[in-house]
Amino acid sequence: MQENKAKIREFLLRYIHNHDLQDDEDIFASGFVNSLFALQLVLFVESGFAIKIENEDLKIENFRTINALAYLIERKTASLAHA
């Protein structure tokens, strides 16, 4: 989980500069990112962790913070392993 969080943070810091982003900080409410970023984030999560983001995953809670993203990735990875 910590390794995934570090990878997510590294990606986010390409877009969010001069800010000490916390694991539970709302990425979207902070005004750091634009609409294109959201699509880039989906592609990052998919290509970086070999999972598919689908219709049922489209809940803002899944993408709002580093913690939420790490949890989503863990959950999707586990469901793939049991598939």
Partner: protein, 386 residues
């Protein structure tokens, strides 16, 4: 000596074979008729049948849905060749792909089962309905409303400039529900939906544009795509990203067509006692065409490669490719008309059609100016990271 450590930018054998097949199809079935499509402002159903027979309307859909499962480079090659022939025909393939891939990515299992087979088989033609009379680049401000009532949504609004709206069976329509963006699949015979054809456009005239009127248009709640609040991001942006990639390649095709026409024309027409190609100012224009077409194609290859990998950078690389290719196509087509002179201003020569079509490519799926803003933002972001 073969070096394994060199970077290769080369099509594989299957891609080359497909490219040759696409080129032959366009040369035989589209180019001889494209000026007529432009003048009549329509694409005949016989051509659509031929596109379907070759699997071009389900080009990138997986085989399980009856698609051809093309990789992104092969799909790009198809778009270049179609663009070389007729931008309106290319637009048909573009829009079908935009909607099909959006359903594949963000649709429910039910929506995929219901629509994708039929889209691949060409039984269903789809259209993308985002733009409105008062809303173009500022897509988040769409004024079409959706109200949830019982087990349905009621839509009210007006959509404009909808490519192939005249013949579409299915529309991917964007609106707002309680201030949140939403995307809906709406069948052409949905109650409260009416269509009015649009004629007299500058370019891409055979794209059979339409305006849509939604007057208390009632659709089942299961027609919502991607959930309330996700209509624009990621659903519409995902579709637009697909569209930009296709258009970028199509613009390479437009410019390639102009280049080939100019190479032929300047080799056969004489002025001042020598062929046009002997004049150095003509050579300058031909040189710029050759270099710019190659540059745009390389940007498209780069974008396609990253798109195939699912790389987050693919989104900006596609914007860069679309920006460069569309502005380049306008310039190349403009020079082609200049080289042809009065003949280039006559409907008997395709370069004037390509010039009009190229201008449209600078407007659709994000204007040149929106691309400039986004690419500059990206540049400053990348600079900050260094």
């Amino acid at each position: 000596m073969i070096m394994d450590n060199v970077m290769k930018i080369e099509l594989n054998a299957q891609q080359k074979k497909n490219q040759a097949a696409f080129r032959a199809f366009v040369s035989e079935e589209i180019i001889p008729h494209a000026d007529r499509y432009d003048q009549e402002e329509r694409i005949p159903s016989e051509l659509i049948t031929k596109l379907v027979q070759r699997g071009y309307l389900g080009a990138t859909l997986p085989e399980e849905y009856g698609g051809r499962d093309m990789d992104m480079i092969t799909y790009g090659l198809l778009n270049e060749e179609l663009g070389r022939g007729c931008s309106s025909v290319r637009s048909l393939v573009t829009v079908q792909d935009m909607v099909a891939q959006t359903i594949l990515k963000w649709g429910s299992r039910h929506q995929k089962e219901l629509w994708l087979d039929e889209m691949a088989s060409g039984d269903v033609i789809a259209a993308f309905a985002l733009t409105e009379p008062d809303v173009g680049s500022d897509a988040k401000s769409v004024e079409t409303t959706a109200t949830f009532a019982g087990d349905s949504y009621i839509l009210n609004g007006h959509k404009q400039w909808i490519t192939f709206g005249q013949i579409a069976d299915l529309f991917l329509v964007f609106g707002q529900c309680e201030g949140k963006s939403c995307a809906f699949l709406i069948e052409k015979d949905a109650p409260g939906l009416s269509m009015k054809p649009i004629f007299g456009m500058l370019g891409a005239r055979a794209s059979m544009l339409a305006e849509l009127h939604l007057n208390d248009c009632q659709i089942p709640q299961e027609n919502l795509v991607g959930g309330v609040g996700f209509g624009l991001v990621p659903v519409a942006l995902f579709a637009l990203n697909r569209g930009r990639y296709s258009i970028a390649w199509g613009c390479v095709g437009i410019a390639q067509a102009c280049l080939e026409a100019c190479l032929q024309h300047t080799s056969s027409r004489k002025q001042f006692g020598v062929y046009l190609k002997e004049h150095q100012l003509i050579q300058q224009m031909i040189t710029d065409m050759i270099v710019n077409v190659k540059a745009a194609r390389l940007l498209c290859y780069q974008a396609g490669y990253l798109q195939e990998l699912g790389d987050p950078n693919s989104i900006m690389e596609i914007m860069i490719a679309k920006y460069f290719a569309s502005t380049m196509a306008t310039q190349v087509a403009n020079d082609a008309v200049q080289i042809y002179g009065a003949m280039g201003c006559c409907s008997a020569h395709a370069v004037q059609r390509h010039l009009r079509d190229a201008k449209i490519m600078e407007i659709i799926e994000g204007t040149t100016q929106i691309h400039q803003i986004k690419i500059a933002e990206f540049g400053y972001q990348a600079y900050a990271n260094n």
